[in-house]
Amino acid sequence: MTNKSGSAVEMINLQRIFGDVKALDGLNLTIKPGQLVALLGPSGCGKTTALRLLAGLDLADGGQITVDGRDITNVPANKRDMGMVFQAYSLFPNLTAVENVAFGLKVRGISEEIRIKKAKELLDLVGLSREANRYSHQLSGGQQQRVALARALAIEPKVLLLDEPLSALDAKVRTQLRDEIRRIQLEVGTTTLFVTHDQEEAMAMADLVGVMSNGKLEQIAAPDDIYANPATAFVASFVGAMNRIPAKLSSGKVEFLGQSVKYGGGSSATTVVALVRPESISVTPTKVNDSKSGTVIARSFLGPQTRLTVKTHEHGTHLHVDMASSDALELTAGTNVSLTITASTVLTDADGKN
């Protein structure tokens, strides 16, 4: 709980090849001291490989990793001072919670008195002082992961590595632990790399979210930025809900639903798919049947918001529209509505990738 400043991490042009699959294809990633960076992507995108290379559990086929400017690319894993939290089942079953937490200090030759004291402090930090003497089979999944977090932090790591630590837990425990991990990370100030396939988790916890695909970083930015200004069609589709609407591209404008919006990037063919968030469409009841109207075919009440499913008259596309529940009272199924795009720019994707 000392290194408030944390370490700086830099991955430069990392390559990792398994057989003929490029797990990492020139990854570049910079993490500033104390930042929590989440790597987000579908399975097989290379995010876990990146984490394991940083931990030293796997070695790169090319490229360089530095921590605080020092090249650690070929430093063995047990000399890297990285604290890692695994998906699950990583606690040593023959040791109690407190012995697990003290393990890293034990192998560093720190006296029993000091390491037990420190381990207890950390168990306290994760809220498990009372479970100190339990074995992993006597702890719930969530408790096991808390102990694993305390164990990783005990060695005062230069970087904290979280390898989908919440994926094996129940939904409720997951949200709770997610907030807690972030609180603790901010408290100890350790630079953290977090790998997940759950965008909600990444958005809720990270300073920066890096979206990966095919061994490359597609975009790295703050969560709100990633959501509002996705750099590529992949990021746009992967993060948050997205409508895919048939469109035409002409002279820098994307034309669809009888409207034209500024082209924000993506596919530049003439026939494209416009990517529009459900909250970037507004609806008003109308009697007119034209290219910018459609029929409400379903509505689901989600609390403060209501999600409508609208079938467009033009192509019969099904669109999701999110709106405040108070505004949606009269928009029952069967209502004819006119659709207005409120986004100032839209991204496009190549046609036919539905």
């Binding site: 890297r80 604290g83 890692m84 089942y89 040593f92 393990f103 192998v107 990783a152 590595l161």
Partner: protein, 310 residues
């Protein structure tokens, strides 16, 4: 059976009026009795053919020739040739179990980390088969291989190696240890393999990640996790060697005193008249020794499997 079912349904169908509580208790009692009634054939069989013989052994062990209670038989079992046979049986079981543990563990470990599913499947099937290969045929297999006129013995003699030049003999202690390995090693592989398989790669990675060298990982995590399973297996192997009879009977023809063979001799009736019941006393000793070993095995196996659960 059908009638009982129907009568039970009738009981359950009585409306819960009046003294419902005691009525429910009666019906619970009847239900319990009914629940266990299906086990009657098993319990009758077990009482007659496990309980009876066991009781007879224990009872006779403390009975003198004149029919009075005595400790003389048990005392006698710890003297002279009887005591020697207990000692050599314990020695044989110890030697056979420890070598079986070492070789079995080495093979199982090699196979477990090999990462070759095909090899793992072959070894597991073969172990199941060989672990059940004992008895008379096994003795003759080894006689054919390394007996006085065995193929290996004769073959090696031709190139100038005489396996009988030293103290080794197939028909003595060293031979029995070797022959028993034929079922002990596979037995060890079968019982220890799940423990080796249960070692998660996360544990090794976590240890390394926390700064442990390979040696420290084994010292603090790997060995402590495997220890209960290995020691437990030792006791199972010990019990299996201690109780084995057939192979030893064929190979040694009684040249070395072993407890099961002694008991056997007394069963077949070549016995000094006033020592008729000492056989039962030795039988009791065998039950106690094997019982202790199996208790340790069960306890340690349960401990080891607790760690495997999650």
């Amino acid at each position: 059976m059908t009638e009982q079912i129907q009568s039970r349904n009738v009981v359950a169908a009585i409306p819960n009026g009046g003294d419902s509580r005691s009525r429910r208790q009666t019906s619970n009692l009847r239900k319990n009795l009914f629940d266990y009634s299906g086990l009657i054939p098993f319990f009758v069989f077990a009482t007659l053919f496990i309980g009876g013989p066991t009781f007879a052994v224990i009872f006779n062990a403390f009975l003198s020739n004149e029919g009075s209670w005595t400790l003389a038989n048990v005392q006698l079992a710890f003297t002279d040739v009887y005591y020697l046979s207990l000692l050599s049986s314990l020695k044989l079981a110890l030697a056979s179990a420890s070598t079986g543990v070492i070789f079995g563990l080495a093979i199982a470990y090699g196979v477990a980390i090999s990462g070759k599913p095909k090899l793992q499947k072959i070894v597991s099937t073969a172990s199941g088969v060989f672990a059940n290969t004992g008895g008379v045929p096994l003795a003759f297999f080894f006689i054919a291989a390394i007996g006085n006129y065995g193929l290996v013995t004769v073959g090696l003699q031709k190139v100038g190696i005489d396996i009988y030049s030293g103290s080794f003999t197939l028909f003595g202690f060293s031979g029995l240890v070797l022959v028993y390995l034929y079922f002990q090693i596979p037995l060890m592989i079968i019982v220890v393999y799940p423990a080796l398989e249960g070692i998660k790669s996360e544990w090794r990675e976590a240890a390394v990640n926390l700064g442990a060298s390979k040696a420290l990982y084994w010292r603090y995590v790997g060995i402590p996790i495997l220890t209960p399973a290995v020691i437990g297996s030792f006791f199972l192997l010990f019990a299996s060697a201690f109780a084995a009879y057939a192979t030893a009977n064929v190979l040694t023809q009684g040249t070395i005193p072993l407890l099961p063979l002694q008991v056997g001799t007394l069963v077949s009736g070549d016995v000094v008249a006033d020592q008729a019941n000492v056989g039962f006393a030795m039988g009791l000793v065998m039950i106690v020794v094997v019982g202790i070993a199996m208790t340790f095995y069960t306890y340690l196996d349960r401990r080891a499997s607790r760690w495997r659960k999650r």
